[in-house]
Point group: C2
Chain length 187, copies 2
């Protein structure tokens, strides 16, 4: 019988860490089951049996990434907090994040894993909006998760759809846009 | 010497139309140079010589799509116009549009073509914002293209990043958000 934290859990952890490391180095296009097997020290047939494909590896690595703590700013004002969040998103667009988004566009399992990942992120980040409501900075009936979506969406749009540069000013403006809409009662 | 509209232009047109038709049927993953050659009736070696790859085909088809007229609503108010635009984006997310966005994430030439495509779209759509300024509905110094980006970004974010459903209410709310920010002087 398998103990928690036993051999199977160690194998899974090694494979997930190797997937993230390979993505960081080579991106989605360069990810192969063979390279993940080599880097993790887990036999290739085992990786194929448990993860099936590159997409299975990405979906599992995303679950690991979802569980990682995401820094929630606390600057004292919702304006400051939201700008911290959009700047963090702007600066956090590394090859791994890009690979996750690319994989989601091509594979159902990765897309489902991404929905879970972003749901967790939105819920965590929405704490800054809920605090703002408590402080009387925003209307009590505001949709806290939607404020986060609206604040980060223009950054993703530029990075992954229109392929335009994203300046720090763009990040600040996206945060300010979400707040203006929240204050106007739209969100 | 090649006449305008001569054989070379006809070949190009046939290949671009075939690319769009193949994308509509099979999406980006299913697009092959061979299938485009067969459908267009242009010899495979010619397609390879002039377009090189699937990504070359997509970049050229995007240029064709950029030139197509994009309906600019004129409902009488900027609120109505912007909601028309976001609803149009929501309903226009067919397999071809999805394939374009997916290709842009994986290929530099497609990404550059996408930037051109969206720049044209933003400029055209921004007419509704410029009209609103003339009518005194929005501040004169508003960034018209940015209002369009902000209005459509939450839809793209849900569709291509978080893989969440997009309701008509989401489309309306995205339009209203951009306007609230524009009226508050943020955009």
């Amino acid at each position: 019988m398998e103990r928690p934290g036993g051999r199977s859990a160690r194998v899974r952890d090694a494979v997930r860490q190797a997937t993230l490391a390979e993505l960081a180095e080579h991106g989605y296009q360069g990810l192969t089951v063979e390279n993940v097997a080599t880097r993790s020290g887990v036999h290739k047939t085992t990786v194929y049996r448990r993860w099936t494909s590159v997409e299975g590896l990405i979906a599992d690595a995303l679950e690991l990434a979802s569980g990682e703590p995401w820094p929630i700013p606390d600057t004292g004002t919702v304006d400051g907090d939201l700008r911290e969040i959009t700047r963090l998103v702007r600066n956090g667009m590394d090859p791994v994040a890009t690979a996750f988004v690319a994989a989601g566009m091509q594979n159902e399992a990765a897309a489902t894993a991404l929905t879970g990942f972003y749901t967790a992120r939105h819920t965590q980040s929405a704490a800054v909006v809920r605090r703002a409501v408590e402080r009387g900075e925003l209307p009590a009936d505001v949709d806290a998760e939607e404020v986060i979506r609206v604040a980060v969406a223009p950054l993703y749009y530029r990075l992954f759809v229109t392929h335009e540069p994203v300046s720090e000013r763009d990040a600040d403006r996206a945060a300010d846009t979400a707040l203006a809409a929240a204050r106007a009662g739209v969100l």
